[in-house]
């Protein structure tokens, strides 16, 4: 007896429109994404009505955490043949009598914000685990006895005269610290600051 073949119906769902949509969404997100650089501290910026964009390239960012720790970030500049971060670290190391290998310099040029006394940078650069690395971020010394921020800013300004300065402070950071940072920057002939804020619309009306 021949076997009776039951017609096996597999309900095929037509996924094409779905795939189309997904592909579209994926493309959109891929193109619009700009990856947030990892920052040394979580900073909750205050609000303002300003709609000006923070510059993305050629910028020195001084970050001030809510516990008044100061961090610094600067990029390699627009000229791709010179790695500004590398050059600056070399100069700072020279000034403070520290030595960095070529590999360490290279690593430093690819990383972002940092806030630690310069003597700890070597250990920071050689720590593979990112969790352990964060323990080094204890804030940059800014007091008058050991003013390393001043040193960094000076060498960055020497390397890259066109860099803009952005201050990204936490809403709850003390004004005192911000003032101190601004004073250090002004000492290095920076008089224009971009204060990073989040947009919040406000309206004012004149009462008649």
């Amino acid at each position: 007896m021949p076997k009776i073949k039951l017609p096996v119906k597999t309900p095929h769902i037509d996924m094409t429109p779905m795939v189309d949509l997904f592909a579209l969404l994926l493309t959109f997100f891929m193109l619009t994404t700009s990856f947030r650089p990892q920052e040394a501290a979580i900073i909750d910026t205050p609000n303002s009505i300003s709609e000006k964009m923070t510059p993305e390239k050629n910028v020195i960012t001084v970050l001030i955490g809510k516990d008044n720790k100061v961090f610094l970030n600067f990029d390699n500049g627009t000229d791709t043949s010179v790695l500004i971060r590398k050059e600056v670290l070399k100069k700072v190391a020279e000034q403070l009598g520290l030595k960095f290998t070529n590999k360490e310099l290279k690593t430093f040029s690819t990383w972002a914000s940092f806030g630690m006394p310069a003597r700890n940078i070597k250990a920071w650069l050689n720590t593979a685990d990112s969790k352990d690395r964060d323990k080094f971020q204890i804030g940059m010394p800014v007091d008058s006895t050991d003013n390393q921020l001043n040193l960094w800013i000076r060498f960055i300004r020497l390397q890259n005269q066109n860099a803009e300065v952005a201050i990204k402070g936490d809403a709850n950071a003390d004004f005192k610290t911000v003032k101190r940072v601004m004073d250090i920057l002004q000492k290095n002939m920076v008089n224009r600051f971009n204060l990073t804020t989040s947009l919040q619309k406000e309206e004012a009306k004149l009462e008649e």
Binding site: D174, K179, L206
Partner: protein, 211 residues
């Protein structure tokens, strides 16, 4: 439907009847992957790019010569003093330790606080700028962004009675306070303001201020 109909085997073997394969491609893994990728990109995307408020500080003179400081007329000056726990005070004119001190008035960061005071003093400029913006938004006036900026700048400059604001914060003030007050300057379209150091006289005034 995404069917790829292949007419395989037509040439092979010389069969007369072409075998029709309807090769359904199973898209499920592809969809899975895409779903994953979309989720990833959605979560990592930073939509609201950080904005920046620009501020230009007065240049510091290396030799602190009071003669080098620009002179401003006292009757146009409003001094805003910021202190800890979101306290804010203001007074008009100058606080000279050798003369009777001006009255320190307590205010706050709300809409009816310092903003009201500033608006009242800056009425003319604010009205002119608001009118201009109104005209732009209703389409009565068409202007490029850059020329609008220049126009507003000119309006701000034209009023000779506009106040000059001096912002001073003590050590207890928070960074947020400073940003808020500079923001108020932008909201009330005040032309000239500066963040300057607080004087000992003013610190004393805050201490003795009405609670």
């Amino acid at each position: 439907m995404a069917e790829i109909i292949q007419e395989e085997g037509k040439k092979k073997g010389g069969k007369k009847r072409p075998k029709k394969f309807s090769t359904h491609i199973d898209m499920t893994p592809m969809v899975d992957l895409m779903c994953l990728l979309i989720t990833f990109f959605m979560l990592t995307t930073a939509f609201s790019k950080p904005k920046a408020m620009e501020i230009t500080m007065p240049e510091k003179n290396t030799e602190d010569d009071p003669k080098n400081q620009p002179l401003i007329s006292a009757d146009k000056t409003i001094n805003i003093l910021l202190s800890g726990s979101d306290k804010i005070y203001y007074y008009f004119g100058v606080a000279d330790p050798n003369k009777p001190l001006p009255e320190l008035i307590k205010s706050d960061y709300s809409k009816d606080g310092i903003r009201k005071t500033l608006l009242q003093r800056n009425k003319i400029v604010f009205k002119a700028v608001a009118d201009l913006k109104d005209k732009i938004s209703t389409g009565e006036l068409v202007m490029a962004d850059s020329s609008l900026k220049n126009k507003i700048k000119a309006l701000k400059k034209s009023d000779k009675t506009a106040p000059i604001i001096l912002i001073k914060a003590d050590d207890k003030a928070k960074y947020k306070n400073m940003v808020d007050i500079i923001d108020e300057m932008a909201i009330t379209t005040i032309a000239s303001y500066a963040v300057v150091d607080i004087t000992p006289t003013e610190l004393k005034m805050i201490e003795t201020a009405p609670k």
